[in-house]
Amino acid sequence: MKTDQIFVALGVGLLLCGCEPQKQQIQLGDPLPGLTPEQLAQFKAGKRAFQRAFTPQDGLGPLFNEVSCQECHEDPVLGGVGDEIEIHATKFSPSGLCDPLFHEGGPVFQTQATPLLQAHGITNEPVPPDAAGIGRRTPSPLFGFGLVDAIPDAAILANQNTNAAYGIHGHANRTIDGRVGRFGHKANTATLFDFNVGAYHDEMGITSAREPVENTLNGTPVPPDTVLGPQPNISLEEISNATVFIQFLAPPPSQIFTNYQDRTLAKRGQNLFTSLQCAGCHVPEMKTGPSAVPALNYKLVALYSDLLVHDLGTNLADICLGEAHPSEFRTAPLMGLRFHVDGLLHDASATNVQEAIERHGGEAQKSADEFKALNDDNKKALLKFLDSI
């Protein structure tokens, strides 16, 4: 083949590549790519379970925080966040012991009561006087949580060693039964399904075969005449359906800047993210393990978290949970940070990303100080990068 013929062939090849239809970018709230038609049908069925609003006649309450999963996970689309703030409280003693106050209705204290319970003069579950710490908690966005669920425990534990290289000391939290935790602001729940069984119970007062007893009023059973609906209120299959919806929610799409200046700025911000050692805790990627679902099988997740708990300093401290002391919190996953519209940090007390960074203390104090010392251009670059992930 002559040289000019080779160039023509290459040109035609390039043209063909260029003409190939581009893959459609995943939108927030879409299912994971690569699901089978049957799994897509499960995703849709799960979405309906997730959206179901309960009434007292269905079993809502008598003590509850909200009437549906959707209520706390709706912004900017289904599966996102909500503006609800719930109350958690536990007891932490100076010797390092944490009591989750299970016997006093803890650690979640419900803020609402059904009309039947209100007729007994009860409007909420008060925090017991012996609680040593009270935490305000915001709902987490759920995008990509199926991938988080599929990350092996070993990968989370391995991050403890990586942490040491940065001179930080994150550790995995443990559930009360000793498993490695990953879900919740204190990483004290091991699996998505476990979390959801508890969320139905604690947030909506919806009982299931695994948690068949209604939320108590600081350990005292609610009056029997306030309990309505079938017993238990829903089947584990319904919880499983809602879980599949979350499991198959795609991670938030990253933002691709079309403007050269924005791209350059974000790239500089990414370098700063590394040089300021933010990536020590906010580990950019983790990988799932084996899964029967091909869309979850050995996939990289751009999580920006090590799923460990770290000391964030006394200013942010509130409650203990499991092995996490009051000042220790799970590294917040930063994927989709730009969609997190209802306040940042575990208690939604930071109104924007810059404030959230600047309020990091404890192990992150040095990084926060270095961020504060950056000039405006570099701050802007780092924030631009965070706006892209």
């Binding site: 390092g96 299970f102 559930t175 009360i176």
Partner: protein
């Protein structure tokens, strides 16, 4: 002689009952492995018999298709995670090869205070 026979029978009956109870408790402990009760903060996955420090049958009902046990448990996975007193409802259903657990419901849970001076972490 009669008295001796009576005493022996009573003693044997006692031993038999105790043995049956022990077998039942051991079987329950073993059957619980792999089961999970509760959710989120109050969640216990039974991973090994060693975690079940105590199991006492408080009630047992059922028929030829279903058996329901109410049990008191003392659980500890590892000292750092604390020790817990729990009450659970274990539902068995008839299967081809005998009985198998259908579901386990968490009825109550309380952290038990460790001895003074102990630390968890």
């Amino acid at each position: 002689m009669k008295r001796f026979v009576y005493l022996t029978v009573i003693l044997l009956a006692g031993v038999f009952t105790l043995s049956a109870q022990t077998n039942e408790v051991d079987r329950l402990k073993s059957d619980l492995i792999g089961q999970t009760m509760g959710g989120r903060h109050e969640c216990w996955k039974f991973q090994s018999v060693d975690q079940i420090k105590e199991l006492t049958v408080k009630d047992k009902t059922g028929d030829d298709q279903k058996q329901i046990y109410t049990v008191a448990l003392e659980l500890e996975a590892m000292p750092a995670c604390g020790r817990y007193a729990a009450e659970a409802r274990i539902e068995y259903e008839k299967a081809d090869a005998g009985w198998k657990i259908k579901q386990v419901g968490l009825l109550s849970l309380k952290k038990i205070n460790p001895p003074p001076g102990a630390t968890e972490k």
